[in-house]
């Protein structure tokens, strides 16, 4: 006979009550941990835009936005890496591996569309994609809003900044407001453009000349202030497209097969590895790839035809790429994790 049989009814009730309290208490703890974000700043800014940015900053770094509360936007877009990741494929919820390399983020107001295939025409819409992606955060934005509905700090900030509760509109707008503050324009190259003739040394100037030369044609795609023309190209770096056929999945046009957006080169020194699949580990290897003319892929851009570089020139080109690093941007406190303050 089971030992419980020998207990008095009163004692059985007592045990049952104890068990219920334990269960309720553990559920409540779980809920609280999902609703982190209560590490409030000392001062809430007065102006509405700063409130929007502050709310977005907390949400960007809040792991409660993923289904198992292990991944935030910042998990794959880390400030120290130019808001990219240092692995080929970032890990999402339950350590699921993604299918594309996390793009570096900066000067996003200049970008006409987002993601490697240009799927998102606006940053506000882009916010939905990693949230919804089954390999990334896997939490529908309606569930995010529901999960955070009990967080007084978020609700208060949402009301102040948007005069409405924390809903999908507020979540997408505030994260966008924060991401729009990712301004990288204090690199040594920027300083040189702004008139500081001593900002670049001789080797870097040689590298700059090579970068913009007709011989290398880097700037045919990597042009403009963000070093991208936002076009979709195949650069012959990858031969296997079984898991990811690029922009064609959106347009169904055969001409878009295996094409990916030309990425910005700002802070490329710290945003390795490179390419849409993170298959090239270093800047040196990237230069060698372009010098070789890439692999024979039917869709490869005719702009990738290879070139010859001396060792000195190669070193100079890489040195120039490193002048695009904006140290202030990589360490700026206003962009950092507010939960660690």
């Amino acid at each position: 006979m089971h030992w419980v049989y020998y207990l008095s009814n009163r004692f059985r009730l007592f045990l049952l009550g104890l068990l219920s309290i334990t269960i309720i208490s553990s559920c409540s703890e779980e809920h609280q941990s999902e609703n982190e974000g209560t590490s409030k700043p000392n001062v809430i800014p007065e102006d509405v835009h700063s409130q929007q940015v502050l709310l977005g900053r907390y949400l960007f770094y809040d792991k409660a936005l993923s289904i198992d509360s292990t991944v935030s936007c910042a998990s794959c877009h880390q400030q120290q890496f130019g808001f990219a990741d240092n692995v080929a494929m970032s890990l999402g919820h339950h350590r699921k591996k993604g299918t594309r390399n996390a793009l570096a983020l900066s000067n996003l107001k200049e970008h006409p569309y987002f993601l490697w295939d240009g799927a998102a025409s606006g940053l506000e819409k882009q916010v939905l994609i990693p949230l919804n992606d089954s390999l990334e955060m896997n939490l529908d934005i309606l569930d995010v809003a529901k999960r955070l509905s009990g967080n007084e700090f978020y609700q208060d900030l949402a009301e102040r900044a948007y005069q409405r509760p924390l809903d999908p509109f507020v979540i997408t707008r505030s994260i966008t407001a924060f991401e729009h503050t990712f301004l990288s324009n204090q690199s040594r190259y920027d300083n040189y453009l702004n008139g500081d003739n001593n900002a670049l040394n001789e080797e870097e100037l040689l590298g700059m000349d090579l970068f913009f030369s007709d011989r290398l044609k880097c700037a045919e795609c990597h042009s403009g202030s963000s070093f991208t023309d936002y076009s979709f190209q195949n650069n012959g770096a990858v031969t296997n497209y079984e898991r990811d056929s690029g922009r064609i999945r959106l347009t169904f046009k055969e001409s878009d097969r295996n094409l990916y957006k030309v990425p910005s080169l700002r802070n490329c020194e710290v945003s390795a590895p490179y390419m849409h699949d993170g298959s090239i580990a270093t800047l040196e290897a990237v230069v060698e790839h372009y010098a070789s003319g890439g692999q024979l892929i039917p869709q490869k851009s005719n702009k990738i035809s290879g070139f010859e570089l001396s060792l000195k020139e190669k070193s100079a080109l890489i040195s120039f790429l490193r002048t695009l690093t904006d140290d202030e941007f990589l360490t700026k406190e206003e962009l950092s994790d507010p939960f660690e303050e």
């Binding site: 506000e124 819409k125 939905l128 994609i129 992606d133 309606l142 997408t172 959106l250 169904f252």
Partner: protein, 237 residues
């Protein structure tokens, strides 16, 4: 004299305000779609429906039906309503129209490229284009134009174990159609357009044993076929 001039100026202001209002503003009529759902000519019911495919009876249980209608116009006059139909009969407001005689109704199945580029979180939750409607394809940042989901007994073993999913979207799948219909709109009187939706016609010339699943991107030819079938689904009574 000053008082007289002030009164005159006041009267002029009032009169000019009136002129700014459209003359026919108060006389437009509200237009409603009165939608009745059918399956092969019979009222749509919760019971299993039978589809004839290549001479074989396929029993089917319709699980989820949704469809956007937009781009409404009477002759060349546009109405700006957007409707998200589900399987329930009902009335939907689609816009206002001036009095007059019209002979043609046009509409789109799905959303045109402008509506399709909408941001779903900017709409109130009850709005047809709201994210809450579950019609937004996040990965493509576009809307599904229609969803037809069912379970079927294709092999006739008595078990509804064959899933049927048609999720059709992207700008290329937008379809426009028009109906000849004499409509006389009287000033201020509501206009009711009776629209019949026969979901059976979605399955026209589809072999459910091999053409049962498309999310558009994974089978564009089938999605195109289903989108074309959608043109035959609607009729104005």
């Amino acid at each position: 004299m000053k008082i007289l001039l002030s009164l005159l100026a006041f009267a002029l202001v009032l009169s000019s305000c009136r002129k700014d209002e459209p003359d026919d503003y108060a006389t437009t009529s509200k237009v409603y779609l009165n939608v009745v759902h059918k399956f092969n000519g019979n009222p749509l019911s919760d019971n299993d429906t039978v589809v004839d495919i290549n001479g074989h009876s396929v029993f089917m249980n319709l699980v989820d039906l949704k469809m956007y209608l937009s781009g409404f116009s009477f002759d060349n006059t546009s109405l700006d309503g957007v409707v998200l139909l589900d399987a329930n009969n009902g009335q939907y407001y689609i816009g206002d129209i001036k009095p007059g005689d019209y002979s043609k109704i046009s509409l789109g199945i799905g959303l045109d490229s402008v509506l399709n580029a909408s941001d779903p979180v900017t709409f109130e939750s009850a709005h047809p284009l709201s994210y809450n409607q579950g019609m937004y394809w996040v990965w493509a940042t576009k809307y599904r134009f229609f969803k037809v989901e069912a379970t079927a007994d294709v092999d006739g073993n008595g078990v509804f174990d064959d899933g049927i999913v048609y999720h059709i979207g992207t700008n290329d799948m937008y379809r426009q159609t028009e109906f000849t219909k004499a409509i006389s709109v009287e000033s201020g009187e509501d206009v009711i357009i009776n629209l019949e939706v026969d979901w059976f016609k979605f399955f026209n010339n589809l072999d459910l044993s091999s053409e049962s699943n498309t999310h558009t991107v994974n089978d564009v030819p089938l999605a195109t076929k289903v989108a074309d079938n959608a043109l035959g689904v609607l009729s104005i009574q």
